[in-house]
């Protein structure tokens, strides 16, 4: 029983990270109807930047905040400079641009920061296992940080004017323009926010899996699975999907398929969802007009 609870707890902890990346993916999807395949690489780059700040002597939370800002700016710039010129291009071009970004950002990270695996500090060193021995200090801390970020984002979108404008621009750009919303600016802000959220996920997962340029690829897959499971047009659903995938992955890895095939679990979930219920557990079914 204890082993099961431990796996469950670990699943929730990693699920929180998947939920963050899933949220970033869904945010961009909602605004642009495109999936940012380079989300993982951007998060990894952010994490390396955080490490640089920490190694330069900055206290952890200052580096954390600094990374959020830098990531935000990076995301907004990517939207402005790379996404904007091709916004009316066919879908194949879009996928190509995302792949191009994946290559550029991923390789740039390796080039600038090297390919050796690095340690990334956790701000939650405690040593003592918490909550009845189920969570390590870092796991609990990262779940808390993830939840805090998600709650803040939720409040931003539902309670603030700017958040409302961003949602409006994502749902109905034409009507948003007609009420005076600068849709282009909203798009750049959305990308910036998604990049910042991704960087949080990176900083929370790096202490566990260690930091190297390929860190986020597997996580990206789980995040995709989570976003699809929850409904790719549904941010809270995607978050729940992320947690679910984390738990499923850990339990399946422990009891069903063995850790070697954990990525396959993500693949199976993705295929299963898209074949059985494409709108996800909580998403809306969309009908195409002829």
């Amino acid at each position: 029983m204890e082993a099961f609870l431990l796996q469950l707890a670990a699943g929730i902890a990693t699920g929180g990270i998947y939920a963050s990346v899933a949220l970033a993916i869904v945010m961009i999807y909602q605004a642009t109807h495109h999936v940012n395949f380079a989300q993982g690489e951007m998060a990894t780059l952010s994490t390396f930047i955080a490490l640089t700040m920490i190694q330069a002597g900055l206290p952890y939370w200052v580096a954390f905040a600094g990374t959020l800002v830098v990531s935000f700016v990076m995301g907004a710039l990517v939207e402005r400079l790379i996404m904007r010129p091709v916004q009316h291009a066919p879908i194949l071009t879009h996928v190509g641009v995302y792949i191009g970004m994946l290559l550029i950002i991923g390789n740039m990270t390796g080039w600038v920061f090297g390919y050796t695996i690095q340690m990334f500090p956790s701000p939650f060193e405690g040593g003592k296992p918490m909550l009845g021995g189920l969570f390590s200090a870092h796991q609990l801390g990262s779940v808390a940080v993830t939840l805090a970020v998600l709650i803040l984002v939720y409040l931003f979108f539902t309670k603030t004017s700017l958040g409302l404008a961003m949602r409006a621009a994502a749902y109905n750009p034409r009507s948003a323009r007609l009420v005076g919303i600068r849709v282009d600016v909203m798009l750049a802000l959305g990308w910036g926010l998604a990049a910042a959220i991704g960087s949080v996920a990176g900083m929370m997962v790096a202490p566990i899996v260690f930091l190297d340029p390929n860190m986020m690829l597997g996580i990206l897959l789980y995040a995709f699975a989570g976003a699809l499971l929850g409904g790719i047009d549904n941010p809270p659903g995607a978050v729940m999907g992320g947690f679910l995938v984390g738990v499923l992955e850990n339990l399946a890895g422990a009891y069903v398929v063995g850790t070697d095939l954990k990525l396959t679990v993500a693949l199976v979930i993705i295929i299963g969802v898209l074949v059985l219920k494409p709108s996800g557990l909580f998403g809306r079914v969309v009908f195409t007009r002829v």
Binding site: L92, I99, G100, L103, M108, G110
Partner: protein, 327 residues
């Protein structure tokens, strides 16, 4: 100008250009060219399902891997001859392609890209799995040997194993390209493109969309799978880490840069993905991947129709009648 002599000339020139390297290039460059032709074949496969039929696949590396492993296993574990394995690899890949095509029917552009991308990421892990180790050789992989040229050929034309391999690859690819060209310019090709551009209209006109799309996947997987089989023997080695998601991305890049939905583009694309990374490395030893990605994005911004599109435009300009001078 009569089209027939021009076409004939083009074919002759093409054949000459294809065969010349046998004598013009030494071993290493010939090997590289061999791989480039294999890449072109793989990109052709991708073009059939993504370029001509609009179903975005970011996971064609999986079919390449299956083709490579089927051939390798049959040759290394069951001692089959290289030629016997080819139709087998093609058939198996075709079936897997069809199996992938079935659920793909329900998925639209981006979702399919996502699923196939996930497939590409999961492939190395699957290949390394212990259950298959007895056959696949696990992480260490399998070693193969290129076939030696048969006596009757060397008595007429002295070729070493590398040159013989190049010839084999050329012939197999040539056949595949010819079949694909025939398919595309006929009724089926038009149907594939109609399904891509106006799916609801195509369906309303009575086309069997499901059969077309799954068929496209099957044929596409077959061709890329054959390319994989060829590559296994050309390189004389297969291992799971040869087939990461970067391979699928490479095919995609080749298709886009060479020219989507273009036979000629597939050839350009194969050459591009093999030789440009080397060029990128000479530009920047430290970050060839960055240069590579930038080239891709520049192409997408500036030349979305790829090399083939550029060629098409140049040809159109050259053959258009000159404007009469104003009076």
């Amino acid at each position: 100008m009569n089209a027939l002599p021009a076409r004939f000339l083009l074919v002759v020139v093409g054949l000459a250009a294809a065969l010349a390297p046998l004598w013009a290039l030494e071993s290493f460059h010939l090997f590289q060219l061999t791989l480039a032709v294999i890449m072109s074949l793989a990109v052709l496969g991708l073009n059939i399902v993504t370029g001509y039929n609009g179903q975005i696949s970011l996971g064609h590396g999986a079919f390449f891997a299956i083709g490579a492993y089927v051939t390798s296993i049959l040759m290394a574990q069951a001692d089959w001859s290289f030629y016997a394995t080819l139709p087998f690899a093609a058939a198996i890949c075709g079936m897997v392609g069809y199996a992938v095509g079935l659920p793909a029917l329900r998925l639209g552009g981006l979702y399919l890209a996502l699923v196939t991308f996930s497939l590409a990421v999961a492939v190395p892990q699957l290949l390394k799995h212990k259950a298959l180790e007895a056959w696949t050789g696990g992480v260490q992989g399998l070693f193969l040997m290129k076939p030696d040229p048969p006596r009757w050929l060397t008595s007429v034309l002295p070729l070493n194993a590398d040159q013989y391999m190049y010839l084999n690859v050329l012939i197999v690819s040539g056949i595949c390209f010819l079949l694909a060209w025939n398919l595309i310019r006929g009724r089926i090709g038009r149907a594939l493109m109609a399904t891509r551009d106006h799916p609801t209209a195509a369906e309303a006109m009575g086309m069997d969309i499901a059969a077309l799309k799954t068929g496209a996947f099957a044929v596409s997987a077959m061709i890329t799978g054959v390319a994989g089989a060829l590559s296994a023997v050309a390189v004389e080695f297969v291992a799971p880490d040869s087939f990461t998601f970067l391979l699928s991305i490479t095919f995609f890049v080749g298709m886009v840069v060479g020219g989507v939905a273009s036979i000629l583009g597939s050839i350009f694309g194969g050459l591009f993905v093999l030789f440009v990374p080397n060029i990128a490395e000479s530009i920047s030893r430290a970050a060839p991947g960055v240069i590579y990605g930038m080239i891709l994005i520049v192409f997408l911004f500036v030349l979305p129709e790829g090399f083939a599109g550029l060629v098409r435009r140049l040809l159109a300009k050259l053959s258009s009648p000159e404007n009469p001078k104003p009076q």
